[in-house]
């Protein structure tokens, strides 16, 4: 039996908030990145590898490869792993590929036209919010927290803040 899957959505994937705040807080031993752009970019892969400390293992997959590893009766997920995704829609794609997500942490989603601010480091468009709500209905626990020290915001709060703007 493997641990329930902890997923973080972060446009920046591997950066300081992940390595200097979440890794020590959760005593993580493995970081998995599931992202097609990163998996296809040798420079990005090398840069992420450089940032790892001695006690941390990094694996970079495409979304399809990650789904392959994570679905089915005996998913090959080691203990103390966090899975990093770039976009909210990647989480949706993973569940469509048959991977149940137990906990979803929303870290950083940057501004782009159409997105409105829902939390200090989180900009979402209407479709992304709806996707998150359907994930929540399917049993995923969802919160915004850029770093562990932030007070978490629930999906309902994110919805309210988003609609206020």
């Amino acid at each position: 039996m493997t641990a329930p899957l902890l997923v973080r959505v972060d446009n920046r994937l591997v950066h300081g908030q992940v390595l200097e705040a979440w890794v020590p807080e959760l005593k993580l031993a493995h970081l998995w990145v599931a992202d097609d752009e990163a998996a296809g970019d040798a420079l990005a892969r090398m840069a992420m590898g450089l940032a790892m400390g001695p006690d941390l293992q990094l694996e970079i997959f495409t979304l399809a490869q990650a789904a392959e590893k994570l679905r089915g009766a005996a998913p090959s997920l080691p203990e103390r792993t966090m899975l990093l995704l770039r976009e909210v829609q990647s989480a949706v794609a993973l569940t469509r590929l048959g991977v149940p997500i137990a906990r979803l942490n929303l870290g950083n989603v940057h501004f782009r036209p159409g997105r409105k601010q829902a939390a200090p480091t989180l900009y979402l468009d209407a479709a992304e919010l709806e996707s998150l709500e359907s994930l929540a209905r399917a049993g995923t626990q969802i919160e915004w927290r850029a770093v562990p020290a932030d007070a978490p915001l629930s999906l309902a709060t994110l919805r309210a803040r988003h609609d206020q703007l």
């Binding site: 300081g16 200097e20 450089l50």
Partner: protein
């Protein structure tokens, strides 16, 4: 023009009227590059939650883009793409800035697609940020500050000088080396960063900082014990232990007020 890449199906060069020769790309002078480097010290002046360091990056690279793109619409498009989202550690960003200039020169010569610099910034920005946050903010700064805290009794104001010199020697040389490496090697700047073995340095400095913080704790207790109010050694000693246990669980400001009140109470009870 013998260094042109092999012909490809795409011509990345700025579209210009057919038959009209494209203006030759310029080369930024040493002075221009120095201006860019100086401007990189203002990377976070316009920091904002939407684009983060986007304004600072664009501001810094502007003199180089003006030199490279002698053709106005191309210059405008280049400026526009550097207003996109960017965030990194402010010191390590110098390496990405240099590499972006290297790539812009190649874009202007038609050797790379215009989106190449953006892709480079996206690939290197976050991991470099992690390296810089870990090394400079969470290892070097605490270590240098603890050296100063330990030497203040002996050196006074001199220990502040020690802090600034130690820290900024690694800060300023890091910025300069990375900027030049980026300019010369483009994406190859990553090899210079890899060669620096930053996570190893981070680990060693953190261990040194932990030892110094412990030594400071021991010194503070002894100092209080040898003062005219030795009972305060008890306040300091228990205070350090209790606060170390309490800190991750409570808000720092709450702990600060607890400490101030507890110190007052303990002093009035014991002395």
């Amino acid at each position: 023009m013998s260094a042109l890449p092999p012909p490809s199906s795409h011509d990345w060069r700025t579209p210009s009227a057919p038959g009209k020769p494209r203006p030759a790309p310029g080369r930024p002078s040493r002075f221009t590059l120095f201006r860019v480097f100086f401007r990189s010290f203002f990377l976070q002046a316009g920091w904002n939650p939407e684009g983060m360091q986007n304004l600072g990056f664009c501001y810094a690279i502007t003199p180089a883009l003006t030199a490279i793109y002698t053709h106005e619409p191309a210059r405008r498009r280049a400026l526009e793409r550097h207003l996109e989202f960017f965030n990194c550690h402010p010191y390590l960003a110098a390496g990405i800035l240099g590499a972006a200039i290297h790539q812009e020169e190649r874009v202007a010569r038609g050797e790379l697609p215009p989106e190449a610099p953006s892709q480079l910034k996206r690939a290197l920005g976050p991991p470099f940020a992690a390296l810089g946050d870990g090394f400079y903010w969470l290892a070097l700064r605490p270590a240098c500050a603890l050296v100063a805290a330990l030497t203040v009794p002996a050196l006074g104001l001199g220990s502040i000088g020690v802090f600034l010199v130690l820290y900024n020697a690694l800060h300023l040389s890091g910025r300069a080396i990375l900027f030049v490496a980026g300019l010369r090697r483009g994406p190859g700047v990553i090899e210079v960063v890899a060669h620096a073995k930053i996570p190893t340095g981070t680990g060693l400095l953190k261990a040194a900082a932990a030892v110094m913080a412990g030594a400071l704790a021991g010194h503070a207790v002894l100092f209080a014990a040898l003062s005219d109010r030795p009972i305060h050694a008890l306040i300091v000693g228990t205070g350090i232990v209790v606060a170390t246990l309490l800190l991750p669980r409570a808000r720092p400001l709450v702990v600060l007020y607890l400490a101030l009140v507890a110190g007052l109470a303990a002093s009035s009870r014991f002395f």
